[in-house]
Amino acid sequence: MSKLTTGSFSIEDLESVQITINNIVGAAKEVAKEAKEVKEELGPMGPTPFPSIATLRDWSFTLFDRYEPVYTPMCDQCCYCTFGPCNLEGNKRGACGIDMKGQAAREFFLRCLTGCACHSAHGRHLLDHIIDLFGEDMPINMGASNVIAPNIQLVTGRQPKTLGELKPIMEYVEEEVGQLLATVHAGQEAAAIDYDNKAMMAGYLDHVGMEVSDIAQVTALGFPKSDPEAPLVEVGMGTIDASKPVIIAIGHNVAGVTYIMDYMEDNGLTDKMEIGGLCCTAFDMTRYKREDRKAPYAKIVGTISKELKIVRSGIPDVIVLDEQCVRADLVEEGKKLKIPIIASNEKIMYGLPDRTNDDVDAIVKDLVSGTIPGCVMLDYEKLGELVPKVAQAMAPIREAEGLSAIPTDDEMKALVSKCAECGECALACPEELAIPAAIAAAKGEDYSALEELHDLCVGCRRCEQVCNKEIPVLSLIEKAAQKAIAEEKGFVRAGRGQVSDPEIRAEGLNLVMGTTPGVIAIIGCSNFPAGTKDVYNIAEEFLNRNYIVAVSGCSAMDIGMYKDADGKTLYERFPGRFERGNIFNTGSCVSNAHISATCHKVAGIFAGRNLSGNLAEIADYSLNRIGAVGLAWGAYSQKAAAIGTGCNIYGIPAIVGPHSGKYRRALIAKTYDDSKWKLYDSRNGSELAIPPSPEFLLTTAETWQEACVMLAKNCIRVSDNNMGRSIKLTHWLEISEKYLGVLPDDWWKFVRSEADLPLAKREMLLKMLESEHGWEIDWKKKKIISGPSIKFDVSSQPTNLKRLCKEA
């Protein structure tokens, strides 16, 4: 007989009978026993397992004390409720009493919460699906690690071992997302800083949700497991062989697409058809069943910026959508070129008829005849059969009609000659591209300026909608760039999943001492200020300097699109371990959880700190000792705001691109206020003066060159030993001279003794310290006698948390 617990139950067939049990003899004992067993199994528990809104508020506020919220509202108004719209300009209050800062903080928080909801809803869908297939008891398998769920362990205190044990984690995230969303209602939270704390919470929940997603798929779908030699994948618009029937998958959730791939494999179609993807579904297609390192047949076309471009090219014979980064005009665009759209996830149904319960061949017939432009298909078995069949049926029809939106040479000439050079398109273009000048040049048959726009253009179509002459600007750009597009072929390493425990053990000391100068994590989507090459340039700069470069998602794709003089991509030139001078790709968007988890693992495995339910202490460790900086250089999506903010509460600073001021809230320190640059030494609670780094938790940069300087500087940490500091200063100073033409103004603030100085510049810098800053130098011994305001003590234990100090 199953055990009775307190609660209610009904007895079948006995209508209107409900028995309520309020107390069971011995129940309290049972519960206590279970709790004890769980405790023994989980080991020591930190102070904050399963936190709610208030739990980590102190830690958020500790961070905000130095890293102050900086609000850059997107709009003077608020129009949330029908009291409004209210004019909040000049920090006025609206009818409900909220001020401009509060509203900006609420808006930023809502962005983070949206991103968190996307990842965790994705996780919930995948988890349920995978448990349906493999059962709750399937053991989690992430590769050669004992610490298999660092984010989950850090936040909740749990260490799940099976897929079923991920369910309560997901339930926790879902409950808190609901609690958080409620606070967006008009007239609730009053203080901006409390919305900022909620944003931080949405951030760490996001990393938990992402981790659940990726654990489920890595475990069950045969993805590479902590594999530094995960296979190389072809990436770029030029990789798709348009002579075969082409399936294009767009989105983030690979669940449905795996059925399409299984069908292709079962029916011997993998070399008779092409399957390519955009955004993170693409990455997960190339990870599917590739733990044996076999080269993937699925290809990665690119990022959301390429969605409209691939449609306009006419290459896809069918497009299958799932969720998240999917443009909202694909049905309309697809219809023009007879490309059927299949929606495979309830989150995006696109107004299409739901044909889930219909016969596959009947649906194929309706799609091929054009009776319907697409359909919803939520039955994955049917989806697997439907999509390849549609592609095969449509390919000959579409080829015969030569369907493409790219103009012919004659059409191109006629279109450019129509342009009045009025400038409306340039005003509308989010990238501020010089479209009229490029079209003017094309009138004289010089298409080079138009061709150059291809890489800068995010394929948004805003230009076309404002053109009074109805010129399809995007198609003109694509026409001019046909040759460049055909050559867009590169390689990216398929996502490897987590960094393994042995890798952490081997690298932890170098990282904390600073002799590995830092981890640069390049993540997020495209919306780059100077084109896709930005992220390649940054990655190459830091790889050549022996930093560890971590990448994921769309940035990982874009980095793979460029080659050196020998025709090699960065993934071919540099290995994929967690080790200096390596570039490792964790995988898709949800694999970002493994990047933050790497920092937790350093604290847990290398430094032996307790991870379970211990967020503030571990974050404090990362902030003071791990020279890791995130870069979401394009960052168009709400998910990037959530990922970055999650990193922030974990003590990891992040830089975003110039577009990302539109997220509305940054966290920037006052480098000039010495009172903010102090820590405790946990050995005795005494105060330690520290150098101003990191000088932000979240901020923007204007150009990739500026970002390089900021990244190098903000890898400096208080725990660097002399050699580490000297290495970090060497790179920062060199990069500043390379891209800004000058040494930084404040390099001297980071010098504790002559041993910190970069070797090659030691003499010159000593002279500067003496002449410009009045430091005393013993020139015989080349030693600093007096001057530095910060000291270095190898055995000091820097912390922001008074409670960790012995004396306290």
Binding site: M100, R462, K662, E706, G741
Partner: protein, 170 residues
């Protein structure tokens, strides 16, 4: 004279308050009269024709330059007082009355803007516009709606001519 006030067309708006369109004369007058001006330039200033004008403006009134983005490289050995600072941090510091400024002498009353990405500078200025009294004068090619005063949208040729007019008037 270039009419720098006529085209203030926007594609999207930041709400209720947008900058006043000004002529080259007014721009020159405001720059001349500022008690503690700071010339805030973005990386767009590296265009040689614009850079040349930026140096002349800085020299004419001995205005310190906040070289944001990666614009600093353009000002090395040009005989101007330029320092690198990140634009977002600068926007924040401008709202702090206790900021010692780039030279230790305190915050600024007027910033003059040139060479910026429109979307980036507008966002940064949404902080100074709402949370400070600093006056932002844009002499950029595009109409900058979150500045206090700004040129309208100009063609490249008109923009260069307008900068020359400002230089003559300083």
């Amino acid at each position: 004279m270039v009419d720098t006030t006529k085209n203030t067309k926007l594609f999207t708006t930041y709400g209720v308050k947008t900058s006043k369109a000004i002529s080259t004369e007014i721009a020159a007058k405001l720059i001349s009269k500022a008690k503690r001006p700071l010339f805030v330039v973005g990386t767009g200033v590296l265009d040689p024709e614009v850079l040349d004008r930026a140096v002349k403006i800085a020299k004419a009134k001995n205005i310190p330059i906040a070289a944001t983005g990666s614009s600093m490289i353009g000002f090395v050995d040009k005989g101007v007082n330029a320092k690198y600072i990140n634009l977002h941090a600068l926007g924040f510091y401008l709202t702090d009355p206790n900021w010692p400024g780039l030279d230790g002498n305190g915050n600024y009353d007027t910033i003059i803007l040139l060479g910026h990405k429109k979307y980036y500078i507008n966002q940064v200025l949404s902080a100074t516009k709402n949370f400070s009294d600093v006056k932002a004068i844009s002499i950029d090619k595009s109409y900058i709606q979150n500045a206090t005063m700004s040129f309208g949208n100009l063609s490249r040729a008109d923009h260069i001519a307008a900068l020359d007019e400002v230089i003559d008037l300083l």
